[in-house]
């Protein structure tokens, strides 16, 4: 079996196991309130990390580039109660424009 197929099979098996683990372990039962409180905080923690890594992460270092401008404009629009769709479109537009001019 070639290296590629070894990678395909291994990554797929790992992926299925990772995605199955949470639902098996944390689902289908009543959990203590403290555990539920931790689980509820996973969502803002994950969203924060996704925003940070996808806005500022660039090949293993932090970068302040056109993405930060676009996401920053979206954040301001959202703070002014703009609809989500408008904010997301604004982010793409501003980023594309900044890249065009930059």
């Amino acid at each position: 079996m070639s290296a590629l197929w070894v990678a395909i099979v291994a990554v797929t098996v790992a992926n299925v196991a990772i995605k199955a683990a949470g639902p098996i372990l944390a689902g289908g039962r009543e959990l203590p309130p403290r555990v539920n409180a931790v689980i509820a905080l996973l969502t803002p923690a994950l969203l924060t990390a996704l925003v940070v890594t996808e806005t500022f992460g660039e090949d293993g270092h932090l970068a302040l580039d056109e993405r930060a401008l676009g996401v920053g404009v979206a954040a301001v629009a959202l703070a002014l109660r703009a609809p989500v769709l408008l904010a997301v479109v604004l982010a793409a537009l501003v980023t594309a424009l900044a890249r065009l001019l930059g």
């Binding site: 590629l4 990554v11 639902p23 944390a26 689980i39 969502t43 940070v52 890594t53 594309a96």
Partner: protein, 228 residues
């Protein structure tokens, strides 16, 4: 904690509609993955099977980057697994809202994608399972079909970065984060600050995937919940 929203087929259909715009972007990225796989000499069958059974954009690009630059297969697997490690905390977060026994929940868990998971979040840590499953369907089709189109045509269509489409993901995530912050209390704000600091500090020193996983440690603030 039971989800009252999205019962019946409307939840799935609404999720599918919500997943469509992301599916368009995923399709364009998939074509470029197919073209990349072709230039790496992966043939036609392997890349399409890879997309169909793994369905993981970041992990598959990591495998392509590492194997393509002469890296070892174990390095490629390790990088892909680290990138996908985020599905563990995401799976824990949606777990209380999935249905049925362990096997059924494990199967429903396979539909977790970062975008679908985010689309299905309803604030305050609640999730709409039917919406998540529905949102994954068009993205799965786009990723698999797009890979096949790229492998067979060898033609890149559209430049996701030039069109600024790469930022629709963090922009969408920040919208959901702001909703969490509005509906949550001081603890949500504290968890957000800690998660931001952890992920920012780790980006330059840890392999990709680790910053997101480690940031989940901020959720341990929930242990301060009084048992009542």
């Amino acid at each position: 904690m039971r989800n009252e929203v999205g019962r019946g087929s409307e939840g799935y259909l609404a999720g599918m509609r919500a997943g469509l715009p992301f599916a368009l972007v995923v399709g364009v990225v998939a074509i470029s993955f197919g073209v990349l796989a072709h230039t790496l000499g992966w043939g036609v069958f392997a890349p399409i099977v890879f997309s169909a059974i793994t369905f993981s954009v970041a992990a598959q690009f990591a495998v392509a980057a590492i194997l393509g630059s002469g890296g070892g297969v174990f390095a490629a697997i390790a990088a892909a697994v680290l990138l996908n490690a985020r599905f563990l905390p995401m799976g824990i977060a949606v777990a209380p809202f999935l249905e049925g026994g362990p096997l059924r929940r494990a199967l429903e868990g396979q539909t977790i994608l970062t975008t679908s998971w985010a689309l299905a979040s309803r604030g305050g840590g609640r999730f709409d399972r039917a919406f998540m499953i529905g949102a994954t369907v068009p993205q799965y089709v786009a990723w698999t079909v797009g890979t096949a189109v790229g492998v067979l045509s060898h033609v890149v269509v559209g430049d996701v970065e030039r069109l600024g489409l790469d930022v629709i993901f963090p922009a969408f995530f920040i919208a959901l984060l702001m909703r969490e912050l509005r509906s949550g209390g001081k603890r949500t704000i504290a968890a957000t600050v800690i998660a931001a600091a952890l992920s920012a500090v780790l980006v330059p020193i840890a392999p990709p995937g680790v910053p997101v996983l480690a940031a989940c440690g901020a959720a341990l603030l929930g242990l301060k919940e009084r048992s009542s």
